[in-house]
Symmetry: C2
């Protein structure tokens, strides 16, 4: 058992508390005082790790995506055909985000409106990072002769964009609909897109 909390442990505990407060109070009403109290540390310690409330919110969103990237990598290097893995990854990128915010009672709109310009920039970066993992699997599929794709990075980006409409962006989870509906719709989009990548027999 570790007796000394590492820097990462403290940051994780702070972001866990951000998640709870965003769920119960929403971004606007969340204060750093309340956050410090929730974690059981001083306000100064919060500022040692995060510059501002905006930085906390953006780091919280980053953490959701970084955890997703780990899961995507696991599927990418796992079993199955390239198409199977891509299908799983497309559904995963949507449901991971759905599950990460589904306990938020209010819409994420106030959070996103508050951190908008910085968020849009990071969001573009998140999509790029995801697309790279998809491109790896597409390249692998081409190498195995399962897929036939002229430009894997372009196809990877299109797969990401095609499923972006299913992400909880400014919709709350409640507005987005039920998890199983989101899953079914995303699976259908994935199915449709992936047929376009398959190697043609005899082509």
């Amino acid at each position: 058992m570790k007796s000394v909390a590492t820097r990462e442990d403290v940051q994780d505990r702070i972001l866990d508390a951000v998640d709870r407060l965003l769920a119960s109070r929403g971004y606007k009403k969340m204060t750093i005082d309340e956050l410090a109290q929730e974690v059981g540390i001083g306000k100064g310690t919060v500022y040692l790790h995060f510059r501002s409330k905006e930085d906390l919110a953006l780091s919280h969103i980053d953490r959701i995506v970084f955890r997703l990237l780990v899961k995507l990598q696991m599927v990418a290097h796992g079993e199955g055909t390239a198409a199977d893995r891509l299908r799983q990854m497309l559904v995963l990128r949507v449901l991971h985000r759905f599950d990460s915010v589904q306990h938020y009672t209010s819409s994420m709109s106030d959070l996103l409106a508050a951190v908008r310009p910085a968020f849009l920039k990071r969001r573009e970066r998140h999509f790029e990072l995801e697309a790279r993992v998809f491109a790896e699997v597409i390249e692998d599929g081409c190498a195995r002769g399962e897929l036939s794709v002229a430009a894997p990075p372009t196809a990877a980006r299109s797969l990401v964009l095609a499923t972006n409409s299913m992400l909880p962006y400014s919709l709350s989870a409640a507005e987005l609909g039920r998890r199983k509906d989101v899953e079914r719709e995303t699976s259908r989009i994935a199915e449709l897109c992936l047929v376009g990548l398959l190697a043609r027999r005899g082509a």
Copy 2:
């Protein structure tokens, strides 16, 4: 030449003015007084046609989509293979909306936040109406042996959802990017999805 303005003419003139005011002032700052003045009619005449400011905004959005539906129908019943028409329609549904709001200097966020619940309901309805036109073309393509689709309405909905991420929803046109980038990305998504609908030779 018509000497008497019809009900539709007046409504169209009012909505044209709504469009100009949304572009120059934004939803929050727009007033019915200003609107009546812009059209050159009395405030009472505005209320004869529209119940409220919210009704004006929603009717304006409806008009954008109804005009799109007319264009989609024209392409749907036009020349070319089913895949060609579907591809054109997918790009059209994105660019028509892009062009309809690209002159708005501020983000549409304040408009959409103000009319949110009613807007989300209509938006779902808009997608349904669009999907029906797509389903018609898919059925036509199947009848001609060009496409092979088990459930045209389901495939139509997936095509609509797959390109929804390219719509200016809460992004302003500026945030969404340049028109030619939107066009290119949408074309790629369309390309990817449509291969999945093509009839397999010898299948």
